[in-house]
């Protein structure tokens, strides 16, 4: 069980949306994390300063939150490393192959009412729900 946190989740979501708006205002780009992360990898096209800064900012966030709140950031991750390697390969390959992930399609694309992003979001939600159902209730 995890605690239902509508207020914190709504506020955190609004911050994510604000970051997407600011990236569009400043750089004219979609805040898609899979696209940003993949631009860190060779072959480098169009400069690495932006993606590098963005990912370093992301990675600093839990420490900033811990400094501000004085409370540790909770994270429960599977310790099955083979499972996490498989999950990482699928997430990395799938997000680049499908041109986006939760941020690019799920937030920015839907906010732009993009048909491709609506379809992608419906597909990855359905695939995620089906996977959890199989893992927890069929095989589990």
């Amino acid at each position: 069980m995890t605690e239902f946190t509508p207020i914190a989740s709504l506020i955190g979501g609004a911050l994510i949306g604000l970051a997407a708006v600011l990236l569009m205002l400043m750089q004219g780009r979609i805040a898609g994390i899979s696209g940003i992360a993949s631009r860190l990898l060779p072959p480098w096209r169009g400069g690495i300063a932006g993606p590098l800064g963005f990912v370093l900012g992301l990675a600093a966030a839990p420490f900033a939150v811990m400094l501000a709140t004085g409370a540790p950031v909770r994270q429960a991750v599977s310790s099955n490393l083979a499972l996490m390697v498989a999950a990482g390969l699928l997430v990395g390959f799938g997000s680049v192959w499908g041109n986006g992930c939760t941020s690019g399609h799920g937030v920015c694309g839907i906010a732009r009412l993009s048909r491709r992003s609506l379809v992608a979001t419906a597909v990855f939600m359905a695939a995620g729900i089906a996977t959890v159902f199989l893992v927890r209730h069929v095989w589990g």
Binding site: T2, T5, P6, A8, S9, I11, G12, G13, I16, G17, A19, A20, M24, L25, M26, Q27, G28, I30, A31, S34, S38, L41, A49, P51, V55, L58, A59, A60, V65, V73, Q75, A76, S78, L83, A86, G88, L90, V91, G92, F93, G94, V96, W97, G98, N99, C101, V107, A111, S114, R115, R116, A120, M125, A127, G128, I129, T131, V132, F133, V135
Partner: protein
């Protein structure tokens, strides 16, 4: 300048991920577990992010250009192809296995959980392979 802008926006987005609870795979997996210990919090994350991005994009895209770039770079494609659907499905399966998508994984890599440390390099490898294959198909 590009580096600093991206650093600040990445920090903001990462803070949103942490505050919203999306950086905790347990919450993500419980959101996807509609037949079990369902935690609807992530619907509020997405709702908050999409509402802010929808309103913000309308304001920002009314400008002739972004502040630090010549033009807005928006995806132009409208067609739904097999690649989009396959990529989103693979991404969703990986998301359902590990409870991590690219933003939360990169945002929490510094917390040092073994599962995240296994996930991130695998994700980057998956992205690299997908980009190589996509280049081989003559796009991007």
């Amino acid at each position: 300048m590009t580096f600093l802008i991206n650093l600040a926006i990445g920090l903001l987005l990462g803070t949103g991920l942490v505050v919203s609870g999306m950086s905790d795979p347990a919450k993500v997996l419980n959101f996807l577990d509609i037949a079990g210990t369902w935690d609807p919090s992530l619907a509020f994350v997405m709702g908050g992010a999409v509402i802010v991005a929808f309103l913000g994009f309308r304001l920002v895209l009314g400008r002739p250009a972004p502040v630090f770039s010549d033009a807005f770079q928006l995806p132009q494609r409208k067609d739904i192809d097999a690649r989009l659907v396959l990529g989103a499905a693979l991404f969703g399966i990986g998301w359902g296995l590990g409870g991590l998508c690219p933003g939360p994984a990169l945002a929490t890599v510094g917390l040092g959980a073994p599962g995240v440390l296994a996930f991130v390099p695998s994700m980057l490898a998956g992205m690299w392979v997908a980009r190589r294959l996509a280049d081989g198909q003559g796009d991007r």
